[in-house]
Symmetry: C2
Subunit: 366 residues, 2 copies
């Protein structure tokens, strides 16, 4: 169990009390109109550390005051939702963003006063609470859809159950939204392979690829949910396993890699908890399309949205290195994309027996 998780599990309520409830109480006791300070999540307060290749929230703060008419509403929302989270904990319930919205939409059933105009409002407040407490919402007991799966030579412990992830048959262990409680008991794996597509994961699992290569395999159902990202990060940092990400040869696939590695600017404060800056990309890159001679039948014409996304990516601070600038420009010039499945044009075995071993040898893990 990670230290962070131990903390979260036992102390969410007390952290919320310490960081939110008590400051308000102290101000009230002094006869002050209460206010809350929150690190700003606006783009101007997000820095990219070029050397460490990581996103950081700056030190700019915003204040939420009961004394200012326009701030009363978010102030009240913050306090009510913080309280609702403590209540769920007390009831032993985990909840979703949507549950929190419904539970807090108005002060009383049928009241014409609305606490929340839409779920957008409660979502933003929960982001504020994450920044204020330093806890992920999952650690506060707020879950989201979980789409990830894991298989390989790793034994974990979750809620008292010992789970051998190498004994899941043709299935896998589905990664829950909250993974901080998961304890890593034992592994003989040498690395982690993250594969964009669930079908490719299933194909490799069917062939026991992970057994042959002594790897943990993870898939996140395309764009990964936060539970999958946190799990990959923990495998990398706590077990010291190198992580390799394999995606489709298109800007959407490359974006998925960047989500595992960096996350998104708009949620920069989650970087420390969710991003895996050591994750490495093993294609399929634009140049791999030609290097691995994917035949023209396996190529798709880039669509407008692809070109737009690639143009945007050229400007992302984390794609400013030589490799990505060259790859993105090659893509924009050739305007061709491809998919993992197109490797089957060579043979059904090509992905498992040629492409992946090749790439992993290049990175020195095979």
């Amino acid at each position: 169990m990670s230290e962070q998780s131990e903390l979260a599990r036992n102390q969410t309520a007390s952290i919320i009390r310490t960081k939110i409830g008590e400051p308000i109480l102290r101000q009230l006791q002094k006869g002050q109109v209460p206010e809350l300070e929150i690190l700003s999540r606006s783009m101007e307060n997000v820095d990219f550390d070029e050397n460490a290749k990581l996103l950081k929230l700056g030190s700019k703060k915003t204040t939420r005051r009961m004394s200012k008419l326009s701030e009363i509403r978010p102030f009240m929302q913050t306090v009510l939702i913080a309280n609702s989270i403590i209540e769920a904990k007390r009831e032993g319930q985990v909840v979703t963003l949507r549950d929190v919205y419904y539970a807090n939409v108005s002060p009383m059933t049928g009241s014409s006063q609305k606490t929340l105009k839409s779920q957008e409002e409660s979502n933003v407040i929960i982001q504020d609470l994450e920044v204020m407490t330093g806890l992920l919402r999952e650690q506060m007991g707020i879950i989201a859809d979980a789409k990830g799966s894991l298989v390989g030579p790793l034994t974990i412990k979750s809620r008292g159950d010992v789970i051998p992830c190498s004994k899941q048959g043709d299935g896998a262990w589905s990664i829950p939204s909250m993974v901080d409680d998961v304890e890593f008991l034992d592994t003989s794996a040498k690395f982690v392979l993250v594969i964009e597509k669930g079908t490719a994961f299933q194909r490799l699992n069917y062939g026991r690829w992970w057994k042959k290569h002594n790897a943990i395999m993870v898939e996140g159902g395309g764009q990964p949910d936060r539970g999958t990202r946190r799990m990959v990060k923990r495998l990398n940092e706590e077990l010291g396993l190198p992580v390799f990400v394999c995606c489709d040869a298109d800007p959407y696939g490359w974006h998925i890699y960047s989500v595992y590695r960096f996350g998104s600017m708009s949620l920069a404060y989650t970087f420390e908890m969710l991003a895996c800056p050591k994750a490495r990309f093993i294609g399929i890159s634009a140049s791999d399309i030609y290097k691995y001679r994917i035949p023209k039948e396996g190529l798709l014409k880039a669509e407008k949205a692809d070109l737009k996304r690639a143009e945007d990516m050229l400007k992302y601070p984390w794609f400013k290195d030589e490799f990505w600038q060259k790859e993105l420009k090659l893509f924009l010039r050739r305007q061709q994309k491809s998919e993992i499945e197109a490797l089957s044009r060579h043979s059904y075995k090509f992905l498992a027996e040629t492409y992946l071993p090749d790439k992993l040898r290049e990175h020195g893990v095979l």
Copy 2:
């Protein structure tokens, strides 16, 4: 392991040979121009058996002749793809619809002759092959995205691994695309709860709802994939467990229930393998919205697409009974929908401790 699966696992190649290869060979040996007969999958050949409440393919056949110019192309596609499936089996590979397309798109790499204009063409041929062989494509080794999960007091065997589905921690066993190889070893469950939403599944799993009520819980990630459907059917038919489906209170949720129970008209031939005609609906129905007094903050205005879908559903043969006609008309009159999460307006525990136990008591399993 189901009888069907044993058959499929060992005999896919020989079934394809017997049903497709050998008839062609015999015709050629007799000096005839070969042809293939396929049960028609057109709507006119789909019957709904009112009493048994099941979809059936009629006996109308279409012929695919080498002697007719317009039929040469699909004839050739059928033979090539059948061969490609046998090849994948021989290589020990499972493949996706997309892999099959890429592998067969043209006779030679770079050839200007195209075997397949688009994946749509190979998908249709694979449907033909399912009808001709009586095998699901999964049984032929063609997988699709798998999104389902399962948890509860059930021990299974898959690829030699014994998997206790009650020992998966906060996760679950992810259901693969091919579930025919899964053997049911032991269960103490009294029923199966299928829940539309992954987040509701996680919430109930976190609270060990399945343990308290001695149930197997399944979720299919919204609209279920075929692996999840086949698994639910097998749990019902092979273990004799009653199946209950819980969905959002909107036409999309009700449609999901109908997919578990009936499947779709356009794939009527899969009915026997995938549909679970004994699955029962435990809401949330249109009348449940009012019966369980979901407050107005938990109601959403029906959108045009919802109304259109409900109008269509009124005409489906399997929604012709009194219950569904009444429910759909109520929905169309009130034009209000809701979601499982809206029950949290009452309390975060309401779904687990009030709604589901209530409904299951009504059906006599609690």
